[in-house]
């Protein structure tokens, strides 16, 4: 090195920025406060605050006669929420969310496993591109595209016809509840589109979890006599579980809250998101809309608590 300092301690930098650097170096907590303050204020006041304000609404009720909100504490709205018609909406949505989550996890795991264990270099890039690409295009365009794919004249039906399996599709559509006139107006269709749209949110966390599992644990299990199935059950699955839970939080809560997919693809029966949309809009019943909003929050809370109790986060 040709440069030599004149003194062993360099002189202070001149100017305001120099003094600021020295000050922040001496008081790192101030730096932390500056960096974290604004986002925490945003999160605390605007985000959580408005959420609480919304939840508070659910403890008011609408006056049936005037249609105005009566600002007195009451459980009337919750009684309304648990009426048969509304409770059906909750059961329907939660069932859909659970099935979508389960299937997403089953489909996502092998993809994530391949990406984490085997894909290297170029193939890893292709994997990420393949997973993320659908997220870059408009959500609405994708859903309308699916409506065409699943319609009676669509490619799905066509493929079944060409394979001489149309009887299978017809038999499926003839089933009660999950069937319908065509896939695009059945719960099966809603399910397929939900799984498609949320899949990246399941694959990526599982892939991240699997990536952290050292390869020699798989070898150790095999070395100790574990068959591939045993290795999966006792080593791979428990270690991937935090990722699966993280992914399922996405797929589950996104399905619980979505109101566009079931509106475009599926039967006319409502999901929670559609109910919220209808109640706060046309029906003007903000308290009931708020009460509907509480449902996914409570469900997610219970879900996380149960997952923790079952040891889903032990491997973290």
């Amino acid at each position: 090195m040709t440069f030599t300092a004149e003194t062993s301690i360099l002189p202070k930098r001149a100017g305001l920025l120099g003094r600021l650097s020295d000050f922040l170096w001496k008081h790192p907590s101030v730096l932390l406060a500056i960096l974290l303050g604004p986002p925490l204020l945003w999160l605390g006041i605007i985000y959580v605050g408005s959420l609480l304000a919304l939840l508070l609404q659910s403890f008011f009720a609408i006056d049936d006669f005037s249609g105005l909100i009566n600002y007195e504490f009451t459980f009337a709205t919750y009684r309304q929420l648990l009426s048969d018609a509304n409770f059906d909406i909750i059961v329907r949505t939660v069932t859909m969310a659970a099935v979508v989550t389960l299937f997403s996890a089953i489909i996502a795991f092998p993809i994530a496993y391949y990406a984490a264990r085997y894909a290297k270099g170029k193939w890893k890039a292709i994997f990420y591109l393949g997973i993320m690409l659908p997220l870059w295009s408009s959500y609405l365009v994708k859903i309308y595209a699916w409506k065409l794919i699943l319609s009676k004249e669509g490619i799905f039906t066509w493929v079944f016809e060409k394979l001489h399996l149309i009887w299978l599709l017809d038999a499926w559509l003839a089933l009660p509840v999950i069937g319908g006139n065509s896939l695009s107006v059945s719960y099966t269709g809603t399910f397929i589109v939900f799984v498609y749209v949320w899949m990246p949110f399941m694959i990526l966390p599982i892939q991240a979890a699997l990536e952290r599992v050292p390869g020699n644990l798989i070898e150790a299990s095999s070395d100790l006599g574990g068959t591939p199935a045993q290795t999966f059950r006792h080593v791979l699955f428990p270690l991937a579980l935090p990722g699966i839970v993280a992914g399922s939080i996405f797929t589950f809560s996104l399905t619980l809250g979505d109101y566009i997919i079931p509106q475009i693809i599926g039967s006319s029966r409502l999901f929670i998101g559609q109910a919220v949309y209808a109640q706060q809009g046309t029906a003007g019943n903000i308290p009931l809309a708020a009460a509907f909003t509480v449902v996914p929050i409570v469900i997610m809370g219970v879900y996380l608590w149960a997952a923790k109790r079952m040891g889903a986060f032990d491997a973290l």
Binding site: N216, E219, A220, D223
Partner: protein
């Protein structure tokens, strides 16, 4: 007698890379067998071939007389102690140790007892309820050992098991491993890049380089009578004498090895060979002083006991050694 592990002309090539190239070896039952070599020499791949993590691209492997190629790791009565232990982080120590018995369908109580016995054997009784993350490196090492031994393997494979331990602990574990191996009578195959470890622990050593075995023999053989320049260099820092120096000493050989501790500084006795040269460097190593002497272009290192006087740098000295300490070897 059938060999515990038999390699016949075994190769493992990864594309153009010949990780293991036409290796023949036979590990005798009940012996402590070390595979020694620098990284990338093929020793670990050989171990993985024995464990079943790798399959040979050529040749034949037998474990106790039974063909092993094509057999998955979980069907081999061979267990491995992994380099970084590979303990299951989500299981307690007891469940880690009992894992092999669990997947084989041994009942809960029985495997619990066996696991506790195994933990006692490695001097970790009562640690069963802890998690791997709560243990020190040395303790994890012992757990890994217990986890392998609880299955009563026919062959125990150890992949640089002491590499991550500090010196004191490593020396202690070396002794313990050796004692354990003798008392259990299980065949140990041990991979290491530390020649001291191999020499002190093994009954026999295979020295690997470039995917081939350079020399296979007892520690004394390997140390005193290296057959190739590589072995002489790698197993302790031997002096390799050139053919010119050999000729000067009246020996006809392409090259010869001479151990630093076989050389003394000072006048030669009548029956000793001698060379003279200039001291070019010296360093204090505790028990010995390491003195480098330039003998007409040939650098010879002398391990001079610390109790003896050390010549100054630049001094002209006479080196002497027994004829029997000079071992002719291949020139390469």
């Amino acid at each position: 007698m059938t060999a515990a592990v038999l390699f016949e002309n075994v190769s493992r090539h990864f594309g153009a890379v010949k990780a293991v190239d036409a290796v023949d070896l036979a590990v005798t039952e009940g012996e402590f067998f070390a595979m020694l070599g620098p990284s990338g020499s093929g020793k670990t791949t050989c171990l993985r071939l024995m464990a079943g993590f790798e399959q040979p691209t050529g040749g034949h492997i037998e474990i106790f007389g039974e063909t092993a190629e094509g057999v998955p790791p979980y069907r081999r009565s061979v267990n491995t102690v992994f380099q970084d232990y590979a303990l299951f982080p989500h299981l307690s120590i007891l469940d880690n140790v009992a894992y092999g018995l669990m997947v084989k369908g041994v009942g809960r109580e029985e495997r619990r007892k066996a696991a506790e016995d195994a933990l006692s054997m490695v001097k970790l009784p009562g640690y069963g309820q802890r998690r791997p993350g709560q243990l020190s490196g040395g303790q994890r090492q012992r757990v890994a050992l217990a986890r392998a031994l609880v299955n009563k393997p026919k062959v125990l494979l150890l992949d640089e098991p002491l590499g991550a331990l500090d010196l004191k602990l490593r020396e202690q574990m070396q002794e313990e491993l050796k004692t354990l191996q003798k008392s259990l009578g299980i065949t140990f195959v041990f991979v290491t890049h530390d020649q001291g470890e191999a020499l002190s622990m093994a009954d026999r050593i295979a020295v690997f380089n470039d995917g081939k075995i350079q020399q296979l023999g007892t520690p004394e053989d390997i140390y005193k009578r290296p057959q190739t320049r590589f072995v002489a260099d790698f197993v302790g820092s031997s002096n390799v004498l050139s053919s010119a120096t050999c000729a000067q000493l009246g020996i006809t050989a392409g090259a010869a090895s001479l151990r630093p501790e076989a050389v003394t500084i000072g006048a030669a006795g009548a029956d000793r060979m001698s060379l003279s040269g200039t001291v070019i460097a010296r360093s204090f190593l505790g028990a010995v002083n390491r003195v480098s002497v330039d003998c007409a272009g040939e650098k010879i290192i002398v391990a001079n006991p610390a109790s003896l006087a050390v010549p100054e740098i630049g001094a002209t000295v006479t080196l002497s050694f027994e004829r029997g300490d000079v071992h002719a070897m291949e020139a390469a």
